[in-house]
């Protein structure tokens, strides 16, 4: 008697349906639609018709020539770098401490929760918190500095481009280092403990262990952190928009704020906003690809290349012998 096997595979597909449908409608379709309207004259509120432009790349050219777009791009990059470098350094330091075998830090759980906390608070709350902290002429920071005698007159902090950008970068850093730390810790915990033991037996100190064992093994996780942070950083929107709405003098206008302004204020230039979005998509893709190239496992790829070369050689040699055989 043969029992018919029960296949559960179909349930997998059935359970996927809601996601697939939601993805197609709410994610895939808008992406394609954005791409399409980038080539059209679609603008103005409540307008429903649009035509493809005669010069099909006009929107893209306009955006690339747009000084505000260029400035927003450089703002975005500056703010991202200013937040990412301290963020990854601090996260690495904390990771090294929390995963160290030598010093067992007490109350690790509480620290991890506390460090992660800023990420749970909504961006809107944080943005408003910081803008009222730095308020002028009456605000907590001004009051504190005056009481301590550092300044005599209240200072208009948020009129300074550097302070405004710095604050946005700091908020981003403060919100995300906990998250990066958690990701890195999980990466370290995934490394084979025998490696650490071996290193310790060989007499490596904790610094050597960190640089020679932990870091090289963290490479894939680092790549993940870098790429997600790059994507998140270049798409920065909520904090700059809510903190100072792009000010002062457009110092904190990021590309996404620029795109928002194009599409949802003034002239409602959906087409140019779409073109700018597509340009950002390309920039992010290229940057991610470069990161992948730089951080890929070079040894492994060398090995693969070597193998391929060997196989080629082998085939060549075979051919050669066959040819020689034929000739003889």
């Amino acid at each position: 008697m043969r029992r018919k096997g029960v296949s559960y595979a179909k349930y997998g597909y059935i359970f996927c349906i809601p996601f697939v449908i939601a993805y197609l409608i709410f994610s895939f379709y808008p992406t394609i639609f954005t791409l399409v309207i980038g080539f059209t004259d679609f603008k103005g509120l409540g307008k429903t018709e649009f035509n493809f432009l005669d010069n099909i790349f006009e929107n893209f050219i306009l955006i690339l020539k747009n000084p505000s777009f260029k400035r927003s791009l450089s703002n975005t990059v500056v703010i991202w770098i200013a937040n990412f470098i301290p963020q990854i350094l601090l996260a690495l330091l904390l990771t090294a401490w929390f995963t160290s075998h030598r010093r067992k830090i007490k109350g690790q759980g509480i620290f991890k929760v506390l460090f992660y906390m800023p990420n749970i608070i909504t961006a809107a709350t944080i943005a408003i918190l910081f803008s009222s902290l730095l308020a002028y002429p009456i605000g907590p920071v001004n009051a504190l500095l005056q009481k301590l005698g550092f300044i005599d007159e209240p200072t208009y902090f948020l009129m300074s481009k550097k302070i405004a950008r710095g604050t946005v970068a700091f908020i981003q850093f403060w919100m995300w280092y906990g998250y990066t730390m958690i990701v890195l810790i999980s990466g370290v915990l995934g490394i084979n403990p025998e490696l650490f033991e071996a290193a310790e037996i060989d007499g490596a100190n904790s610094r050597q262990i960190f640089f020679r064992v932990t870091l090289p093994n963290l490479r894939t996780i680092m790549l993940f952190t870098l790429v997600t942070s790059l994507i998140g950083g270049l798409n920065m929107f909520d904090i700059p928009k809510l903190f100072l709405n792009g000010g002062p003098d457009n110092a904190t206008v990021t590309t996404n704020v620029f795109i928002y302004n194009q599409a949802f204020s003034g002239s409602y230039l959906y087409n140019r906003a779409a073109a700018a979005s597509v340009i950002m998509f390309l920039i992010i893709s290229v940057c991610s690809a470069i990161l992948f190239m730089i951080l890929r496992d070079k040894e492994a790829s060398k090995l693969r290349k070597l193998e391929k070369m060997q196989q080629k050689e082998l085939r060549k040699a075979e051919k050669e012998t066959r040819r020689l055989d034929n000739e003889t």
Partner: protein, 482 residues
């Protein structure tokens, strides 16, 4: 394998159905990117033709008996509460369930939601919606004006009622669409006055009489700055920040930001650069930004210097000064220490306009409700209650659109030391200019004030600031900028 393919195709089908479903109303969809397919357009045009049929006379209209709900979109509960009141007073004429959607204007969420609701139509579309002065032009004359139904088509005898109620001209200008049809009116009047502290006036000029003070601070900016100097001698600031001045300047200028698709800087608005700089350089104000903590502190009189006054309409007294004065009865905080007088220049600030959806199924009821709110100047009308503070238990006396009602009513407020504010606010409404608004105002004002702030802070020359302002507008809109 077959099943998977079937499943995939089913998904695709559902998706395309869902998309074409919206596509009929809204050609924003990928399924109709082809310029040839313009079904959406045709229906729109038909609607327009319907509307034009009865342009010039008051229509007789009937409600669709199958409709059960009355949909409202608003940014505060003010208008929904009025409609609830109407239902309470006239239950026979209002057999509907009220469905209100209230979204605050902060974070710019209200307009997108309203735009979507209007564009999508159907039974959930608003029958009545409310627009604020900052963006009302978009709904009456701008990109979203096609959704508004002229009041006449709701059976309202607009022309006669406007005269009877003596509605301020700027209210009507703003609410009139490009076909000269009234599509929106306000219930509030937002003509501005100068609201000042009596105690400071007495200290500086020996009197707090509005008739005298009005001659001290105006007319014109020169006298205003003379007053500022006198106040400075005694250690007072004339106003809290340059934002206060801006509202007066913005809404008293002759031209709006955009004239025939071109960015235009009205000389009166350009002068704001100099006025603002003068205030800052001479330390005539506390350099606050409106709607921020320091601004509110000045209402309580606890800022860096005590502030003499604020530019504003009656709502600023009722909802802002009243709540931030640091007290609830005479003697507490600055309560009762205020008075109003004519401003150096006439202006208006804010206000809510009421619009009807052209696709409404219940035009008759809607007409009655809108008439009751905006044009009924009798003692049974909303505005009478609104002006006399009898609308609800905790409502304050407020200025209303109808001059008739205000003349009849008594606007004495304890907050103003017993002054009848209507005496100042009725003429204030007449000076206001409602022809200088554009749908770009919110966007352009933001850029403008930012550049003015850069200039007054000494970071830029005036020429550079204006150049940067133009560049910003050029980059972010498709207006012609020279």
């Amino acid at each position: 394998m077959k099943r998977i393919i079937a499943l995939f195709l089913a998904c695709l089908m559902i998706m395309s159905l869902a998309l074409t479903g919206c596509g009929k109303r809204n050609t924003k969809d990928g399924s109709t990117t082809d310029p040839g397919s313009n079904t959406g357009q045709n229906t729109d045009q038909e609607d327009n033709n319907d509307n034009q049929g009865d342009n010039n006379e008051t229509a007789t209209v009937e409600d669709d008996p199958s409709v059960k709900t009355f949909n409202i979109y608003a940014f505060t509960d003010e208008v929904p509460n009025m409609i609830k009141k109407f239902k309470e007073l006239y239950p026979d004429e209002f057999p509907y369930e009220i469905k209100e959607t209230i979204i605050a204007t902060t974070d710019g969420l209200y307009q997108p939601a309203l735009d979507q609701a209007l564009a999508n139509g159907g039974s959930d579309a608003p029958d009545l919606y409310v627009a604020e002065a900052a963006f009302v032009i978009k709904y009456t004359q701008g990109d979203a004006s096609q959704y508004a139904k002229p009041y006449k088509e709701l059976g309202i005898d607009v022309d006669n009622l406007l005269k009877e109620a003596e509605i301020a001209p700027y209210t009507v200008d703003i609410g009139t669409n490009t076909d000269s049809q009234v599509v929106a009116l306000a219930y509030q009047s937002t003509g501005g006055a100068f609201i000042y502290r009596r105690s400071i006036a007495k200290d500086v000029w020996g009197t707090d009489d509005p008739e005298v003070i009005k001659g001290k601070i105006g007319p014109g900016w020169d006298k205003f700055f003379e007053a500022a100097e006198e106040l400075k001698q005694k250690g007072y600031a004339i106003i809290s920040g340059d934002g206060d001045l801006w509202h007066a300047v913005e809404n008293s200028s002759d031209q709006g930001w955009v004239v025939d698709g071109k960015l235009t800087i009205d000389p009166k608005r350009e002068e704001f650069f100099d006025l603002s700089k003068k205030l800052k350089d001479n330390n005539y104000h506390n350099d606050t930004v409106d709607w921020q903590d320091a601004w509110f502190a000045d209402m309580k009189g606890v800022g860096e210097k005590e502030v003499f006054g604020f530019f504003g309409p009656a709502w600023l007294i009722n909802y802002t000064l009243h709540d931030n004065c640091g007290g609830t009865k005479v003697g507490e905080g600055t309560y009762g220490d205020w008075a109003v007088c004519e401003p150096p220049i006439g202006f208006f600030w804010g206000g809510s306009w009421i619009l009807a959806n052209k696709d409404t199924k219940i035009p008759k009821t809607l007409g009655k409700v809108i008439e009751w709110i905006t044009l009924d100047s009798s003692e049974n009308g909303l505005q009478h209650m609104w002006a006399n503070g009898t609308f609800s238990e905790d409502s304050a006396k407020d200025t209303v659109a109808s001059g008739t009602v205000m003349k009849r009513s008594d606007g004495e407020l304890d907050f103003l030391g017993g002054q009848n504010m209507f005496e100042v606010f009725v003429p204030a409404g007449e000076f206001a200019n409602g022809k200088n608004l554009t749908q770009y105002d919110e966007t352009i004002n933001k850029v403008w004030r930012e550049q003015v702030r850069e200039y007054t802070a000494g970071n830029k020359s005036k020429e550079q600031a204006i150049e940067d302002f133009k560049q910003d507008v050029r980059d972010n809109t498709d207006l012609i900028v020279e």
